[in-house]
């Protein structure tokens, strides 16, 4: 055996388990998802053989289109708030003394990793009538009496921003931490106003990562199931909640699969659109 083929063999052996795992559990299931979305509902199993577009036809129902619009609207709002808060926060964290910086990072990682179930539950407690924020508002004279602040769109947005913000910070942290502050100093010395220096030095260097953070926030929001279910109004439940209930309560896997494919396509379009928008402004 030649040296080349021997090293190929070694590489193949080395990568055999990752290939099995990632192709078997990553690629194959996706093909399956597409196949089942074209199947017919089987109340006693997964799907009946044969190919039909029934499940995709059902996507035109106003209820589902409304839910998709709710998903997208929520994603854009949460994405904008998260980046709007996350950018200055990361900027400040990147300039902190090391000990303080590590403390903030540990805090953010700990909240990032906390289950969305536990966070949604925490917000429910925080917004409850008995001990929630409304009691604080009453004490401050902003409200007449305590009341439950859930379910509401505001509760869903607050909880999702809470979930997404750590991801935003961690996405922006590398670029903001390596940003050469001397460049800003130089621009200032040359007579640029702080705003001008920011616009001409910081914005071009951070636009890309900021957009990645925004898209990531949107993807996380679109995929979130628990927060809107626990904190939101049933009439404005987004796609994620409907997909979950179609699969679990409705036992309709073809339809849940078609809805997933649909949501995935919408998410990809949203992401591509966002990146296209940054690129256009550049040229």
């Amino acid at each position: 055996m030649t040296a080349v083929s021997a090293s190929r063999l070694r590489l193949g052996l080395l990568l055999s388990w990752p290939i099995v795992a990632l192709a078997g559990l990553g690629a194959v299931p996706f093909v399956l998802l597409l196949r089942i979305s074209l199947g017919q509902r089987d109340p006693n199993g997964m799907y009946l053989p044969g190919i039909t577009l029934n499940s995709y036809g059902a996507l035109g129902e106003p209820e589902l289109l409304g839910a998709l619009l709710d998903s997208i609207q929520l994603a854009v709002i949460v994405g904008a708030i998260s980046v709007g808060l996350g950018f200055p926060l990361t900027w400040l964290i990147a300039r902190m003394r090391r000990r303080l910086q590590v403390a903030w990072l540990i805090f953010l990682l700990a909240t990032l990793s906390l289950s969305d179930v536990l966070i949604a539950f925490s917000w429910q407690v925080m917004l409850s009538k008995r001990i929630g924020l409304s009691n604080l508002f009453v004490a401050l004279g902003l409200m007449d009496g305590p009341e439950s602040l859930t379910p509401s769109a505001g509760a869903v947005i607050a909880c999702l921003v809470y979930l997404v913000l750590p991801f935003t910070v961690l996405t922006l942290f590398p670029v903001l931490s390596r940003l050469d502050r001397d460049l800003i100093e130089a621009a200032r010395t040359l007579g640029a106003s702080p705003l001008k220096a920011f616009a001409s030095v910081v914005v071009p260097m951070t636009k890309g990562p900021a957009m990645i953070a925004f898209v990531m926030a949107m993807v996380l929001t679109v995929g979130a199931y628990v927060p809107p279910l626990v904190l939101g109004r049933p009439q404005s439940w987004p796609m994620a909640v409907l997909i979950g209930s179609t699969a679990l309560a409705g036992h309709d896997l073809p339809r849940a699969s078609a809805m997933s494919v649909f949501l995935l396509a919408a998410t990809v379009l949203l992401a591509v659109g966002a990146f296209q928008a940054t690129r256009m402004r550049k040229s």
């Binding site: 090293s7 590489l11 990568l15 990752p18 290939i19 795992a21 990632l22 192709a23 559990l25 990553g26 690629a27 299931p29 996706f30 399956l32 998802l33 089942i36 997964m46 926060l89 400040l92 090391r98 910086q101 590590v102 990072l105 540990i106 805090f107 953010l108 990682l109 700990a110 909240t111 990793s113 906390l114 289950s115 969305d116 179930v117 536990l118 539950f121 925490s122 407690v125 925080m126 001990i131 809470y162 961690l170 590398p174 931490s177 390596r178 990531m216 996380l220 679109v222 995929g223 199931y225 628990v226 796609m239 994620a240 997909i243 979950g244 699969a247 699969s257 997933s260 949501l263 995935l264």
Partner: protein, 264 residues
């Protein structure tokens, strides 16, 4: 004035991020079934209930088992890929890496349906292995990123020096490469462990009725109304997260691991 603005901004965000956790932690120390904040007659009675209740304990230990095995499985997938990229600059490994990244970036509800469909199709629905392997694959992008960073941080001059002095490949691997990469492997393990521990929707879809992890149990209880024991579970998981990431910060350079500028 500007400095004051910064401090106000940071304080407000710190309160926003901490408030739900503080409230839940506070409620867990109540002595009665009722929700009070700040807690009245603080006591550990709900902690005793939690640790004395076989149902909560089994959910808790099940979560730990799933998370440990998912972390090990995930690293076992990530390590060969990262090594093949570093050592052989393998195209195949690069393709696998992007596959891993994509699956991490998909909406989680879609992933949960994908795995539900897959495990039902191969007739293996509702087992603990489903949860473990699904988590291992979804989160593999994280150890891949940390371990890849570990390999890239190896100074090739060190490897050359070892070879010149007569070390065989296996010696180099053991004495030079392993000690450098090990902390990055450990942080990869920690990331997957913590995320798997807290993951709900995929675990619920693939095996939620049989394999009731702690997040699933909390969610199921949420529907039946408030119980202080749920707060105990939340506090436990918060503490685990803080301890785990503090450990990462102690054994390694956390800001650098997260892609920031290295220690100055």
């Amino acid at each position: 004035m500007k400095a004051a603005g910064k401090i106000v901004f940071l304080t407000v965000l710190a309160i926003f991020m901490a408030a739900p956790l503080v409230v839940v932690a506070g409620v867990s120390f109540n002595s009665t079934q009722r929700m009070n904040f700040p807690p009245q007659n603080p006591s550990l009675v709900w902690y005793e209930t939690f640790f004395g209740d076989p149902a909560w304990m089994s959910a808790f230990s099940l979560s730990l088992i799933v998370a440990v095995l998912a972390a090990l499985a995930s690293v076992s997938i990530a390590l060969p890929i990262a090594y093949a990229i570093w050592k052989y600059k393998s195209r195949l490994a690069l393709v696998l890496e992007s596959l891993a990244r994509i699956s991490f970036l998909l909406p989680s509800i879609v992933l949960s349906i994908v795995f539900l469909v897959f495990w039902s199709w191969i007739g293996h629905f509702g087992r603990i292995e489903d949860t473990i392997l699904s988590h291992a694959v979804v989160f593999v992008a994280l150890p891949l990123a940390t371990i890849g960073m570990g390999f890239r941080s190896i100074d090739m001059a060190l490897v050359e020096a070892a070879r010149t002095m007569g070390a065989r490949e296996s010696d180099v691997l053991r004495t030079v490469i392993r000690p450098i990469v090990l902390p990055y492997i450990v942080s990869g393990l920690v990331f997957v462990f913590i995320l798997s521990l807290n993951e709900y929707i995929i675990a619920y879809m693939v095996a939620g009725f049989e394999v009731e992890t702690l997040p699933i149990k909390v969610f199921n209880n949420l529907r039946m109304g408030f119980q202080p024991t749920m707060c105990v579970g939340a506090v436990l998981f918060m503490a685990l997260g803080v301890v785990a990431f503090s450990a990462v910060a102690v054994i390694g350079d956390l800001p650098k691991l997260l892609g920031g500028a290295s220690r100055r």
